[in-house]
């Protein structure tokens, strides 16, 4: 407890801001989950509104930024192809979901007591062939066979549906629809297994890319990662049998994984808290890694690779580990991202996405965990605001096209490098340097050689 107090005492304004932001994020999720519960509705149809959608964008971007930080911030290598790791993660998860769909078990036409329309139907134009969930059995999803006319009839009747619409669901009176369906991905926790697989696949890709590039640094490393990412991008775009090409893999209702009794959509509270938990895990893991022996090795490599090699650090191993960790986080992030996307198209994982992640790090401060999170929050928040402004023309007559945000990103990169290359929240100093007598004591403890009288300056010289 006292350690916690110590820790809190060291907080600066930025940390309090982060804590407040984190609390806000959790609050949004809780409000949504509880608020809808209080209305007497189930969990299957809980929709987290617009604010939560923005929060999700930020959380996911923070995961990407932390993953990339391992390579850029800590090891000091500029990776311009991080989007390919996210892409591989997203594709592995969506392929896994599509492939592990259980054999369709046809149900006979059955009267449904109550229908809740899912996200796909929210446009109020339900068509036959849409999907429907039965309240009592959220693990079952149905294709609407005769439901559509019933939905329309209910809408015309103007009953409870309108009230229910406000929380995003659409509830129909008993016995109005007939549905025929099949059981979906029933294997509990299957999604998490897939996430780990996605991470592993990306980590392997990181190793495959990392091994031949171990000797490269600086510009050449950056341009090789860029070329590699472009090759992956072209492959995912052109190999339609695998990735669906330009159309992508659509995670229709029957492919959605079931978590805590509800199919996972981007606006369910289950998904929201999974992403929150993932970010928290990544932050904790990043802190631990940074403080570990490997973290020290990375710092040494960043400072001077030759010196690190000379002082006995297994540079190759440490670098490979950084590539694998970075890839793993990117893959898991991509797997989470797939659910939000709904349709995983290869096209969106392009160079701009990679550069956006780099931009988050540059803004927040390369090598800083807080910086990565803050950078993601600022850039994605800004992006969403600009998108909002262009959608609704909220910013007066100043019609800002959504592409304009990339102008802002570019300006951020240029101006920060010019005026504040360490970013807004650079990595914390390691504390004040030890006082001379303290240092002497530490040296004496480390090696008897240092215990020699301090009147022998050549040793100092030799040590440096």
């Amino acid at each position: 407890m006292s350690r916690l107090r110590e820790w809190v005492k060291a907080f600066g304004p930025a940390d309090w801001l982060l804590v407040a932001g984190g609390a806000l994020v959790v609050l949004i999720g809780l409000l949504q989950a509880l608020g809808v519960k209080a209305l007497g509705l189930g969990f299957a149809d809980v929709r987290v509104p617009f604010v939560a959608a923005i929060a999700l964008t930020i959380l996911l971007q923070a995961i990407f930024a932390l993953g990339l930080n391992v390579v850029i911030g800590w090891t000091g290598l500029l990776d311009l192809g991080y989007a390919s790791f996210i892409a591989v993660g997203a594709i592995v998860v969506s392929l896994g979901l599509v492939l592990t769909k259980q054999t369709p078990t046809p149900y006979p036409d059955m009267p449904v007591r109550q229908l809740v329309l899912t996200q796909a139907q929210r446009a109020l134009e339900p068509a036959p062939g849409g999907e429907v969930v039965v309240r009592e059995r959220p693990d079952l999803r149905f294709d609407v066979v005769q439901g559509a006319p019933a939905v329309l009839a209910a809408l015309e009747a103007g009953d409870r549906t309108i009230a229910a619409r406000h929380v995003g669901g659409l509830t129909l009176p008993v016995g109005q629809a007939t549905a025929r369906g099949e059981q979906v991905f029933g294997f509990p926790g299957g999604y998490f297994v897939l996430l780990v697989l996605a991470g592993a696949a990306s980590a392997v890709m990181g190793l495959v890319r990392g091994f031949p590039t171990l000797r490269l640094t600086g510009d050449y490393y950056a341009i090789v990662t860029l070329g590699f990412a472009e090759i992956v991008w072209l492959i995912t775009l052109n190999e339609e049998w695998l990735t669906g090409g330009a159309f992508g893999i659509k995670l229709a209702g029957q492919y959605r994984p079931t978590v805590l009794g509800a199919p996972l959509y981007s606006d369910t509270w289950q998904y929201y808290f999974i992403v929150c938990a993932a970010l928290a895990l990544v932050v904790v893991a990043a802190r631990r890694l940074h403080a570990s022996r490997v973290g020290r090795a990375w710092a040494a490599i960043k400072a001077d690779e030759t010196a690190a090699r000379a002082s006995g650090i297994d540079v190759d191993r440490a670098k490979m580990l950084a590539f694998a960790v970075s890839g793993f986080i990117g893959g898991v992030g991509g797997g989470l991202f797939a659910i939000k996307l709904g349709t995983v198209t290869a096209k969106q994982f392009d160079i701009w996405m990679s550069i956006l992640v780099v931009c988050c790090l540059v803004l927040g401060g390369m090598g800083s965990i807080r910086g990565a999170v803050v950078g993601a929050a600022m850039l994605m928040g800004l992006g969403e605001l600009l998108r909002l402004a262009s959608d609704e023309g909220a910013v007066g007559r100043l019609a800002i096209p959504p592409e304009a945000r990339f102008l802002v990103y570019g300006l951020i990169l240029v101006l920060l490098m010019r005026f504040r290359p360490q970013g807004l929240l650079p990595p914390r100093e390691e504390g004040p340097p030890p006082a001379p007598d303290e240092l002497a004591a530490m040296r004496a403890a480390a090696s008897p050689l240092y215990a020699l009288p301090p009147t022998a300056p050549p040793q100092e010289g030799a040590a440096t």
Partner: protein, 378 residues
Amino acid sequence: MPLHLAESGWSLFVLTLFNALTEGSTFALIAVGYTMVYGIVRLINFAHGEVYMVGAVTAWWLFVTPQVPLWLALLLAMGVCAALGWSLDRLAYRPLRNSTRLAALITAIGMSLILQTVVQLVISPNFQSFPETTRATVKDAGIAARAAPDPAAAEVGELRIGAEVPVWPGERPTDGWVPIGWTRAGETEPALAWAPGASLEVKQGLPAAVNADLLGGARIKLPLKDVLIWIAAAVMMTGLHLLVQRTRLGKAMRACALDRTTAALMGIDVNRVIAATFMIGSAMAAVAGVLYSVKVGGNISFRMGYYPGVIAFAAAVLGGIGDLKGALLGGMLLGFAKAFFATYVRSEYDFAFCFSVMILVIIFRPYGLLGRPSAVRA
């Protein structure tokens, strides 16, 4: 893909060869800018591909909107790009000359993003092209007189306002003349005569000579626009070679590439030399951008500079970075690789093949084909 895969045998080979020469010349022209800048400043000017793009876009805009002739548009685009290269160096790179190379590279990426977005906002994200033929838009309906010199005129039609009509080569309608449509004997396309009486708006197209076929063969075509790129590449590379080897500025460039600090101590204004390098490289990229878009058609957009830019960097590395002859060699090799891969293997993966070549070269021979291994690797 301008080539038809229905072609076969030696004609396909020859067409691919022409294509490869064109691509290679383009890459070489861009690669020169990379290699000169890298040779002196040790910076991957990531925005160089965008300079190429700005060159093409500027010339296209000048050609389409103020209707400037093509040669003038090309010259103006070169000027604009030289100014752009100068300001890139002055505003973005020079302040960072003494900071880390990572910072400079990130700045270059930022400039690239800014240029791309600005162009996208200005000309819309759609693909544009130099209009192939001159076309006239009718602003006023009606026919004043039948001025057709052709006795075989089959029909005289009234043209709607807003209708867009092709203009015959050699005829340049002006305001005050109204188009009259008829069909020439033996031709199905309606032709036009011009009679006084109404207004029309003329949009110029590429000169017919540019599209003209130099070989005139039935199966093998060699349009002038390909040859233009070859000539431009040859002339500009020779000129640059002479500039670097024979002039004071060239000598200063070589000195800066060897050792910037010592060059400064010898009284060379290093910043001026670097600015000149950026301007020359940018002007050459502009030539590549304009001529290549004239050749290909329909490729002008804010993203057109990205792949050629990266491939040209690869070309510079392949030939040995900092070496002008290396840029030419590397550009040609990658142009051949791309064209032949596209024709004979899979056209979707032509750029992916180039990227693979680049990665392999950087990993196994980072000093390039003409370079020598050095202790300090970039």
